[in-house]
């Protein structure tokens, strides 16, 4: 098993690396559709406060006067060594900007993930075991969650809890309560697909023959759930983890904007309005790295959790 697993892990890691590289290239090409002149024009704009020498240095650094492929090569080379370049707006190193913003987003995302899992599990369990009328309502909650845009959720929460109930204030976005509400806003759209997958799995597994046989051995529903249904039902969600992380990252742009937090989302927002290519490039590429890493971890974890998965077959998938 170990050598087969080792080969499988290596193959997957290789694929992951390729995907990251391609993601970087794709992002770069998309971003650089913006004509170079526009950038140098905005650099030369007296309001940017950059001297001619500064501008020249930036142009040289990024090869802004060179063909796109050269720029790409320069950029990629630097990315691979961890050098993320400098912001066009503030001239600060991008790695610093990202580094400063990361803790806030990490806190938010982690909280949101925890809340989303709790929501999803509660909904799934309720949808399965609650009395029929409640179960029906619970089953339609994920669909409802998916119908409300997250900016509306955020605004409603702020309206209700900040302005009416004064549970927190929008002037201190990093307070615990404020963070909690921001996390809930971020969690709601993320919990919906997770809940749906869990409900579907539970439905499927509890109809399986082995559930019937276990019941015939005198197992009560609660025992059946804990001992037999949890593991196989949860397995499909592991595969979803990467997608969830992606949703969290994407959703953070709006959530942080609404709640006035200083995270990656706000960084993105500023970079877009300021046409700050290097920052955008860096953030998107890093997101891809995170996504691919999480996906890789899930792929590597699944054969260990599910004894049915044949590693050799999985390596060729």
């Amino acid at each position: 098993m170990t050598s087969g697993y080792g080969r499988f892990a290596l193959a997957r890691a290789g694929q992951a690396a390729v995907v990251v590289l391609l993601a970087y290239v794709l992002t770069f090409l998309v971003i650089s559709v913006l004509p170079g002149d526009a950038i140098t024009n905005s650099l030369r704009d007296p309001q940017s406060g950059l001297s001619e020498a500064d501008i020249q240095r930036i142009v040289e650094f990024y090869g802004l006067d060179q063909p796109v492929l050269v720029q790409l090569a320069l950029s990629l080379g630097r990315f691979l060594t961890g050098e993320l370049g400098f912001s066009l707006q503030s001239n600060l190193p991008v790695s610093q900007i990202v580094g400063d913003a990361l803790p806030s987003t990490l806190t938010l995302a982690t909280m949101a993930l925890a809340i989303a899992v709790v929501f999803a599990v509660a909904i799934a369990y309720g949808a399965h075991y609650a009395p029929p009328r409640w179960a029906g309502i619970l089953r339609s909650i994920p669909s409802f969650f998916l119908s409300v845009p997250n900016f509306v959720i955020g605004l409603v929460l702020i309206e209700l809890f900040a302005f009416r109930l004064h549970s927190f204030t929008t002037t201190d976005p990093n307070s615990a309560t404020a963070t909690l509400f921001a996390a809930v806003t971020l969690a709601i759209p993320v919990s919906a697909p997770l809940a749906e997958v869990l409900i579907a799995s539970l439905d499927h597994e509890s109809r399986q023959e082995y559930a019937l046989v276990a019941r015939s051995r005198g197992l009560a529903e609660a025992q059946l759930f804990a001992r037999h249904l949890v593991k196989p039902s949860a397995l499909p969600s592991v595969a979803m983890v990467a997608l969830i992380v992606g949703e969290l990252l994407g959703g953070s742009v709006i959530t942080e904007t609404i709640f006035g937090r200083d995270g990656i989302g706000t960084v993105v927002q500023k970079a877009v309005t300021g046409e700050d290519q290097p920052v955008l490039q860096a953030v998107v590429s890093l997101s891809a790295v995170v996504f691919v890493a999480v996906n890789l971890a899930a792929d590597l974890l699944t054969p260990l959790l599910d004894p049915r998965v044949n590693v050799r077959e999985a390596a060729n998938a």
């Binding site: 992002t27 998309v30 409802f144 998916l146 119908s147 509306v152 046409e275 998107v284 997101s287 996906n295």
Partner: protein, 283 residues
């Protein structure tokens, strides 16, 4: 492992016998009506309101909802209901464009990938992986920032990030059908692969993709509204739903400016989701 497949199992493995069509549930009917209304708003906005979405009567600024102004008025005295109705066109049409892009490009990729297999599948698979690796919303943001802040570009951006989802589903369905006995039978009956693809695989695969397309329509409306909210859509005085919410949120004393467009968004997407679920269950 088992020598003979007993008939009970085989019966459930093949397609189920037609379920009795018990008619359309009421919630689905209501959903269809809502969608119909929204579509009509987008096509013939002037039929639904006499007010202008652009010019307002500054004398009646920030009025609460009343019989005269169903959704109230905004800070320039414009009728909010009119603004919502006129904003439907870009919100809904752009979503359709997004779904169309995702559906056509994604299905083509998935079809080629699933049917051909081999190196084509591997290459296209990497491409799809890349599209998936970049979180959908971020990808849309990046594309919009490159193309320019217009709702149509937001639509294109949303469509591109939806390609991966369609490609994956189409590929899975094609592979599933490709392995069926009746496809193999068609080869034994003298058919070639192209015929099998067009006459057997596609008709059996498109159902699930259609359900997804409806679902994605709703998702696209949300994404485009979110992009508009951030200011990445058409600039004012256009009245994309998302933009309405964004411009309304600063007027804390006039919550209807936020709730009216928000409710319309929710109602629309909820209806779309209901229809999608109904389609999925009646397959």
């Amino acid at each position: 492992m088992s020598a003979d497949l007993n008939f009970a199992r085989l019966r459930s493995a093949g397609t189920a016998t037609l379920r009795s069509r018990a008619g359309i549930p009421p919630t689905v009917l209501v959903s269809f009506l809502v969608i119909l209304l929204v579509v009509l708003w987008s096509l013939f906005p002037s039929l639904f309101t006499g007010y202008s979405p652009v010019n307002g009567d500054t004398g009646s600024k920030l009025d609460a909802p009343s019989l005269q102004h169903w959704f109230g008025t905004d800070y320039l005295g414009r009728d909010q209901y009119a603004r919502v109705v006129y904003g439907t066109a870009s919100s809904v049409t752009s979503a359709l464009v997004a779904v169309a892009i995702g559906l056509v490009v994604g299905s083509a990729i998935g079809l080629a990938s699933g049917f051909r297999g081999g190196w084509l599948d591997a290459t296209l698979g990497r491409f799809v992986d890349v599209l998936l690796a970049i979180p959908g919303f971020l990808l849309a943001v990046v594309i919009v920032s490159s193309l320019g802040f217009q709702t149509i570009n937001a639509a294109i951006a949303t469509g591109v990030s939806a390609v991966a989802v369609f490609a994956r589903l189409m590929r899975a369905e094609v592979i599933r059908v490709r392995r069926s006995a009746f496809v193999e039978a068609s080869y034994l009956e003298g058919g070639n692969r192209l015929q099998a693809l067009l006459t057997h695989v596609l008709p059996n695969a498109y159902r699930s993709v259609l359900v997804l397309a409806v679902l994605q329509f709703g998702t696209s409306i949300l994404v485009i509204a979110s992009l508009a909210f951030l200011g990445y859509g058409d600039p004012p005085p256009s009245s994309d739903w998302g933009l309405l919410v964004a411009s309304g949120k600063t007027y804390v004393t006039a919550p209807w400016l936020v709730y009216a467009p928000a409710l319309v968004i929710v109602a629309t997407v909820l209806s779309i989701n209901r229809i999608s679920r109904w389609l999925r269950n009646s397959k």
